[in-house]
Symmetry: C2
Subunit: 200 residues, 2 copies
DNA sequence: TCGAAACTTGACGCCCCCGTCACCTTCTGC
DNA sequence: GCAGAAGGTGACGGGGGCGTCAAGTTTCGA
């Protein structure tokens, strides 16, 4: 009866518990918002006991950190990979937005949790980059500028406006009955390709 | 000794208390976030007693409603007025953004409170318009389209991306040591004027 | 097979918040 | 100047969260 993975039961349970907490936390934070959520709310969505929670995380905030790290990490990786392949301004912009919108749709719960708590996350992790990936976009933009792909304008504001627009348009897209990432991508891409290239 | 306003003392005190609660609440919500804030946190910032709070508002949520209504109302009025005067696409866009960025700087505490709790507010008032004024912008854009001022594209996404970009760029602007609304306005305006007019 | 180590459990003590309400102070109109 | 109304006050009962820890259960390795 050892049709399980290689690691011993001990290890597997640990992993499962940790994951259960993370999953429950994501739900709770999405529904109630971080501030209103309690450790007990999370534990209740789990079949663990209160005490067990504290074997895995010292407090509510740490769980948020873990949840956000996981989620934002995934989103950023995808978007960044998509962008890396762009050989033209158009591709760079379009592929990045597309990856982002696709992710929003793929993991609605996580994106709901992130947008619900964006303000808190911003305030908590003083690297605002973590939340929105603004800093990384800025990096990529700088690289693009250096490569002559992108006109040299205020990169900070460029990144900020792209992230802001994507966030808000993404929220609208998710609100609709039949989210269409293609349309969202098309809209935002056209906007920025024109807006960025036409600068004096 | 009646050098006060016309209304009786009773009335004046009522007004003062209500305002004191609103002011305290704004601070508390900005610092702690709505979810983590308690009615007592608010009351403590005031020289009123717990019971008094409940003479003015039935609960925490109502205060948030009042605070947001006040704040968002002010911001929207300004932005809308600025936009109304725009006779060209350029003026419409530029004046609106300028009014928004000016307001951010003028009332930092309120804007901090709004951005800190944007997610909660969105979730709480199902009219997302209240928060961001997206709907109103969309209205204005529609009017602009009808008047031939603005090219006819997806107005919803147009509004969403403008609001999102303004929000994010505004946040960046406030982060800097010497916030420059002129620069922010210039950047975002150029982006959207180009982006919006160049559509096929 | 068995004993020790690893982990889980949930009750416990402490703390704080909620909304109320009987009592007191202040204002107002006569 | 006074009586009654309006409004302020803060202690109170009830509820629930927090983090801990002694006792119980499971896993592991020899």
């Amino acid at each position: 009866m050892t049709n399980a993975a290689l690691p011993g039961k001990r290890e597997r349970t640990k992993q499962a518990n940790r994951t259960a907490i993370l999953v429950a936390a994501r739900e709770v934070f999405a529904e109630l918002g971080f501030g209103a959520a309690s450790v007990r709310d999370i534990v209740r969505k789990t079949d663990l006991a209160t005490g067990t929670f504290y074997n895995y995380f010292p407090d509510k905030e740490s769980v948020l950190r873990a949840v956000v790290e996981e989620a934002a990490g995934e989103a950023r990786v995808r978007v960044q990979e998509a962008r890396r392949n762009g050989r033209t301004l158009d591709a760079f912009v379009r592929d990045g937005f597309r990856a982002y919108f696709d992710y929003l749709i793929e993991d609605r719960l996580t994106s709901a949790m992130l947008s619900r708590n964006a303000g808190t996350i911003r305030a908590m992790f003083d690297e605002p980059s973590l939340v929105a990936g603004v800093e990384e976009l800025a990096e990529d933009l700088r690289a693009g500028v250096a490569a002559g792909l992108i006109p040299d304008h205020d990169v900070e504001y460029m990144a900020a406006s792209m992230v802001g627009a994507a966030f808000e348009v993404g929220a609208r897209m998710l609100d609709s009955d039949a989210p269409d990432p293609g349309r969202a991508t098309e809209f935002v891409s056209a906007l920025f390709v024109a807006g960025l290239s036409s600068r004096a």
